[in-house]
Symmetry: C2
Amino acid sequence: TARIIVIANQKGGVGKTTTSVNLATAMAACGRRVLLVDFDPQGNASTGFGIDLDARRETNSYRLLTGEVDASAACHKTDISGLDILPAIVDLSAAEIELADVDAREFRLQTALQMVVHQYDYIFIDCPPSLGLLTVNALCAADCVIVPLQCEFYALEGLSQLMRTIEMVQQGLNRNLVVQGIVLTMFDSRNKLSEMVANDVRSHFGNLVYHTVIPRNVRISEAPSFGQPVLIYDLKCAGAQAYVALAAELLSQEKEA
Amino acid sequence: TARIIVIANQKGGVGKTTTSVNLATAMAACGRRVLLVDFDPQGNASTGFGIDLDARRETNSYRLLTGEVDASAACHKTDISGLDILPAIVDLSAAEIELADVDAREFRLQTALQMVVHQYDYIFIDCPPSLGLLTVNALCAADCVIVPLQCEFYALEGLSQLMRTIEMVQQGLNRNLVVQGIVLTMFDSRNKLSEMVANDVRSHFGNLVYHTVIPRNVRISEAPSFGQPVLIYDLKCAGAQAYVALAAELLSQEKEA
Ligand SMILES: Nc1ncnc2c1ncn2[C@@H]1O[C@H](COP(=O)(O)OP(=O)(O)OP(=O)(O)O)[C@@H](O)[C@H]1O
Ligand SMILES: Nc1ncnc2c1ncn2[C@@H]1O[C@H](COP(=O)(O)OP(=O)(O)OP(=O)(O)O)[C@@H](O)[C@H]1O
Ligand SMILES: [Mg+2]
Ligand SMILES: [Mg+2]
C-alpha cells in the first residue's frame, strides 16, 4: 500500500508546493504510481498542474473531508502519466472551523484516503503555512514528513517549533510518524546567509538533511505560470535536475528501510 | 489617535514581516510615534528587533488577547527611539481555537488596543500567512490594509481571494476599513516574471499600487540574523532605501486624505 509523505512547514513561502509538485512528478517519471493531495486552501499545487477552477469545483479535498465525495471520485488525472492529483479549493479553509467539534476530527483525511491507498505507490500531501487542523490531519494520515527549509534566517527560527509539533503528533495521534528528511531550498551560492543556514542545519540535524540542495532558480518560479512542473517546463535546468536528484535520494532511502 | 495599518496576505513568504518591521522603522525615523504589533505566532517581527523569548514570555500579544495583560503593559521599547513593539509568542496559535466560542471574538484586538491608541501616531500589525481569526481580528482593529505582493505567479493567484476577504470585512465587521495600497516586493529586474506580475497588478489595480517597488536585496534577508531592521543594519542599501521611499509615499498619501 502507498507510502504517505507529508510536505510541511508552517513558515510561509519556503518551497512546500514547489517541492510537492516536482518531487511527485519526478517519482512518477521513475515509474511509481503517485497521488498528490493538495491540502492548502490556496490551491497552488492544483494550479501548478493547470487544473482549472471549474474542474475542481465538485471533486476536491474539501468535499473529501466533509464526506460529500469519496477519494476515488476526487482524484483527477494530470498530463503526466502515473501522476494523479486531488485538487484544493478555497472552501477548504472553512474546514478548520467546521470540523472543530467533530469526533476524530484529526483523522478525517486518513480515513478518507484508505479507499485509494492500494492504487498508488506514493501519496504526497502539500500543506498550508500553518500548524492548524489541516496540517495535523495530514500528519495523522502520513507515514513520514519531508520538511522544505528555505536557506533564510526567519525560516531557521521556525524549525524547532515544527519539530516540537511533529513530536507531539508522534507521541499521541500518530505513533508511526517519522521525519523522512529536511531538504534545503532556494539555496543561493552568492549569498553567505544560505551557506550559514545550511551549515547550521547540517550540524544540528546531521543525516536527516538530504545531500541534494535545491538551488534558487528562476525557471522554477516561471513554471507555474504555464501550469507545468519545472521537470516538464525545463528538464535541463538546475532546479529540475535538483528535484530529480532528490527523488533518487528518496528512492535509495526507501530501499534501505 | 493612531492610524492602525494591517500588513496582510495569506500567501506565505511574500514580505509581510519585512514590510512591517522596516516600514515601522522608517516612520519612526520620520519622527512619528509608532507601535508594531506582532500578531503572527511565528514571532518573526519580534525577532527582527532582537526581542528575546524570555522578555516576551509574560507580556505579549497572546496574553493581550486572553486579557491577562493590558496593552500598555505588553508594549516593549526597541533600540529605535519612537518605536515600540508588542511581541508575539507561539502560544498565539492557540487563540484561534480558544476564542472560537467567545462573544465578539473578532474584536478582541480592537478593544485591547483602545488603551494605547492615544500614545501613538501609527500602529502597524504584522499578520500570519492565513485568513483565520488572527488576521480577521487585525482587519477589524484596522483603519486600512497594506498588501505586500511578491512578484511571483503563485502570489498573484492569491490576491483576488485576499481582496474578497477584505470586502467581506468591509461589508460586515468593519465598514471603515480601506485598502491603503499594494506594495510590490522581491522585484528582480533580471527575471521577466517580476516584470509580468508588476504590469499585471498595475493594470488591474492602478493607483492602488505604490510607485515604490521593493527590490530583491540580500541585505534585507541578512538583517534579521542581527536582530535589526535593514534600515539600521545597512541604511545605504537598495532595500533600505526602498522602504524609506515607501514611508515617504505613505506620508504623502496621508496628507492628501
Ligand atoms: N528553488 C526555487 N528557486 C526559485 N524560486 C522558487 C524556488 N522554490 C520556490 N520558488 C518560488 O518561491 C515562491 C514560494 O514557493 P512555494 O509557493 O512553493 O512555497 P510554499 O512554502 O508552498 O508557500 P506557502 O507557504 O504560501 O504555501 C513561489 O513563487 C515559487 O515559485
Ligand atoms: N526584498 C527582499 N529581498 C530579499 N529577501 C527578502 C526581501 N523581503 C523579504 N525577504 C526575505 O524573504 C523571506 C520571506 O520574507 P518575510 O518573512 O518577511 O515574509 P512573510 O510574508 O512575513 O512570511 P510569512 O508568510 O511566513 O509570515 C525572509 O527570509 C526575508 O528575510
Ligand atoms: Mg504552498
Ligand atoms: Mg511573517
